[in-house]
């Protein structure tokens, strides 16, 4: 029991990899470094795949990347609706990032979404985007008035939603990733060979991608609600 608790503590702690020597020193966390690695891989992938694109006689590579692009933006665009199509690139980026971040644990990295700070940051970005979209599409006056719709009595609840929505987004992603991780560790402790790979298929692949989907789905739901 003690060893498992210690192991969990170790996994939960945000370790500092190195310190940037500016001022008092800026600590760089493990999650930040893994995020940089994910960024580098995604940017390199995009750069390699989008070189030398043509309009006629397209190569197999271009056909593949166009298919991926169409599928992803089609999926996200269907969620956010016709009016919110300008938010599709951001939402697709978040989908790709969370998806890769949940899967990166398989390659021995520490998944960034297992760090509460990362999911809190993503949730904050989401709620700021939702409110900004509301202000942009409705104007400040109508946006402020939307808190008192349909009746003025619900205003306190609507204001409370500003806090509970990002909180639940953040906790859902963090809890799911951490929960899957803890269960996998427990299974590995009981049966080290064979069985973990079967469960990993569900907990790492399916659940990781599902949570990325759910995060983006809820964000786009809030956006389409804010701009309607």
């Amino acid at each position: 029991m003690d060893t498992i608790s210690e192991k969990l503590n170790e996994e939960l702690a945000c370790k500092t990899v190195f310190t940037i020597p500016i001022g008092n020193g800026i600590a760089v966390n493990e999650a930040t470094v893994v995020t940089w690695i994910i960024m580098a891989v995604l940017i390199l992938f995009c750069f390699l795949m989008t070189r030398g694109l043509k309009t006629r006689n397209i190569s197999k590579r271009q056909a593949f990347i166009e298919w991926v692009y169409e599928k992803l933006t089609g999926m996200v665009g269907g969620m956010v609706g016709e009016e919110g199509h300008s938010y599709v690139p951001y939402l697709t980026t978040v989908l790709l990032y969370i998806g890769v971040a949940n899967l990166v644990g398989i390659f021995g990295f520490k998944s960034p979404t297992k760090d509460l700070n990362v999911t809190a940051g993503l949730a904050l970005m989401s709620i700021v985007l939702v409110q900004a979209a509301g202000i942009k599409h409705k104007g400040v006056k109508k946006w402020a008035h939307s808190f008192a719709e349909p009746v003025a009595v619900v205003a306190p609840i609507k204001v409370l939603e500003l806090i509970t929505r990002p909180l639940s987004l953040c906790m859902r992603l963090f809890g799911n990733v951490l929960g899957a991780f803890v269960i996998m560790k427990l299974i590995e402790a009981v049966v080290p060979v064979g069985l973990p790979s079967v469960f990993s298929l569900y907990f790492d692949f399916f659940d990781g991608l599902l949570q990325a989907y759910v995060f983006v789905f809820l964000t786009s739901l809030y956006i389409s609600e804010a701009i309607e």
Binding site: N9, L12, F174, G175, N176, L178
Partner: protein, 73 residues
């Protein structure tokens, strides 16, 4: 440690609600697919979203149980 473990165990009881919720949702989805097999794609999409939302309550309980064990130790 004993009482802490008990508290964590009670927090995880939230999973009962999530289990019932997902069970009901899946049962209804099976009924809906049996009635209208051509709408399977849409039903599956809604079902997965609903399950993810219902599952979140269990996850909250899990997070709280974990916080109890780790933070209050």
């Amino acid at each position: 440690m004993g009482l802490l473990a008990l508290g964590a165990g009670i927090a995880v009881l939230t999973a009962i609600g999530a289990g019932i919720g997902i069970g009901v949702a899946t049962g209804k989805a099976a009924e809906a697919i049996a009635r209208q097999p051509e709408a399977e794609g849409k039903i599956n999409k809604t079902l997965i979203l609903g399950c993810a939302l219902a599952e979140a309550t269990a996850i909250y309980g899990f997070v709280i149980a974990l916080l109890i064990i780790i933070m209050l130790k």
